[in-house]
Symmetry: C2
Subunit: 119 residues, 2 copies
DNA sequence: ACAAAAATGTTAGAAAATCTTACGTACTAT
DNA sequence: ATAGTACGTAAGATTTTCTAACATTTTTGT
């Protein structure tokens, strides 16, 4: 996994990196904006990605946005991305099918083309 | 700074990531193989780079190498790299000088070439 | 304007994680 | 044999984080 996604940073350090209070960071977890992992002992561990997300939250909050608005926004985003992904996937599949049948069409025409001898 | 170089990981997590004991990690610091930062409170913080270095140490130790051998090895490496850097730097500088004087040579010759008129 | 909800501070006590220091041990090299 | 290397382990202190609760401030909806 990438360094960006590995959950290794304790909450105090996250607070320093983002400028948020520890209280705020825990609260944003309660509102499902971040999902840290836990050690056996139960202490939270965040990733750099989480840090970036939290920094982004800090901005949106300054702009007067509410936590559930932020979450909703992200959910829409994810959905859009998922659709785009799906679309891309289908197109690629279609492309492969096309390539496949093209290959056969070419092969067949060549085989049945009297101008082309056996090789 | 890159995620790789930011010192944010506590020693327990480093131990998990590397499979080394906390004792070993502290010992390798004593032998100058890693240099974590500290929080105000005094707890160590490591980077992913440190984690990689420690993993590498673990291998060398398994091969029966001693800490000071490892350090010496790295110092030599650093030196070689520094020399290579220096060489590259000089070559680039020379390249720029060449380009510079080439430019003037071409310009001058054009200016003094009777076949080329004013524009 | 007022009540409810949201966002955050603060405090208290417990638990987890880390720190330093020191002593013990096994192995290696001289 | 002695000394150095590379750890393990233990003790006690300190730092960090945890949950839960209550308080305060800000925002929102009616």
């Amino acid at each position: 996994m990438s360094y960006r996604k590995k959950k290794v940073i304790p909450i105090g350090t996250v607070a320093e990196l983002t400028g948020l209070s520890v209280r705020q960071i825990r609260y944003y977890e309660e509102r499902k904006l971040v999902t840290p992992e836990r050690t056996k002992g139960g202490t939270r561990k965040y990733s750099f990605e989480d840090v970036d997300i939290l920094a982004e939250i800090a901005n949106k909050m300054e702009d007067g946005m509410q936590t559930y608005e932020i979450r909703k926004m992200w959910e829409k985003e994810k959905e859009r991305e998922a659709l785009a992904q799906e679309k891309a996937r289908k197109e690629m599949l279609q492309g492969q099918l096309n390539a496949h049948f093209n290959f056969h069409r070419l092969t067949d025409s060549r085989l049945s083309d009297p101008r082309l001898g056996d090789r």
